[in-house]
Amino acid sequence: MIAYKFLRHGRVGPFSGFAWPPPGGWVTAAETDRCRRGVHACRPRDLPWWLADELWEVELAGEVRVAGHKLVAPAGGLIRRVERWTTVAAREFADACAWRARDHAVRRLKLTRHPSDAVTLAACATLDDVLGVARGLAEEVVDARVSLTIAGDGAVRALTGAAPTSAYIAAHAAERLDGRDGYDAERAWQSRWLVDRLALGADELE
């Protein structure tokens, strides 16, 4: 089974510290019922949860289990690095998520009958503008304060290059409006963005 895996620089597991062998090498786990001892990877739909420095295409062997937002298998190996996942792509993704959080705050302003404030926030041309406008409005518009604060936080995290946090914030901005369905839809949007931008196989997205 082909899947994906985020690693730190140098093919290092973000949590295990395990240094993966280069493509062609094979890693096996003695037991997979303990999470730490399995070979972990993810489906395209799971990518937004695991962002890190390097993205690799991996092959998993044996019985592959779905465990939350990850796959666990008894064996696996790196196939090739996804070269399109770069610091530039990560920055673009963070920005895209921050703009989505802004859009959710605009919607909240419209829903709470603050149309002129919605227009002001929607007119922001940069994330610096979003940060300033959202923070300012949050002081004044009580019934949209949380959404505006979230939008400001999303801009801050994108401006500092924190893609995983920016994605997390956008998902919660959507949840604020539409509940769990909104959260799931936002995560799905993020997965599609990554699949499209990185030209990945999207067989399991839906």
């Binding site: 019922d33 999470c35 990850k70 769990r180």
Partner: protein, 83 residues
């Protein structure tokens, strides 16, 4: 907040079990998802790791040793004064 998400406060409570590899897989998954996106908890984790490493390098000092002669002398003179 999702019921299947870990908060920073919950992570602080779970960190000992995390170090000891004692978390059940579903909880471990949620902790690691949190660590991906939470710089503050990553910093806290690294500080804890550094503290544990530093403590592990401390020399073992004998717990019982003879008091310094000046102390013994002072105690002896105090005993004499009370007598």
């Amino acid at each position: 907040m999702h019921p299947d998400e870990v908060t920073c406060r919950q992570f602080i409570e779970l960190i000992t079990d995390y170090f000891e590899d004692a978390l059940e897989p579903p909880t471990l998954d949620r902790v690691e998802e949190h660590l991906v996106m939470c710089d503050w908890c990553v910093t806290y984790l690294e500080q804890m790791q550094a503290t544990i490493a530093a403590l592990g390098e401390l020399r073992t000092e004998p717990t019982h040793r003879e008091p310094e002669p000046e102390v013994l002398s002072a105690l002896a003179s105090r005993g004499r004064d009370r007598a």
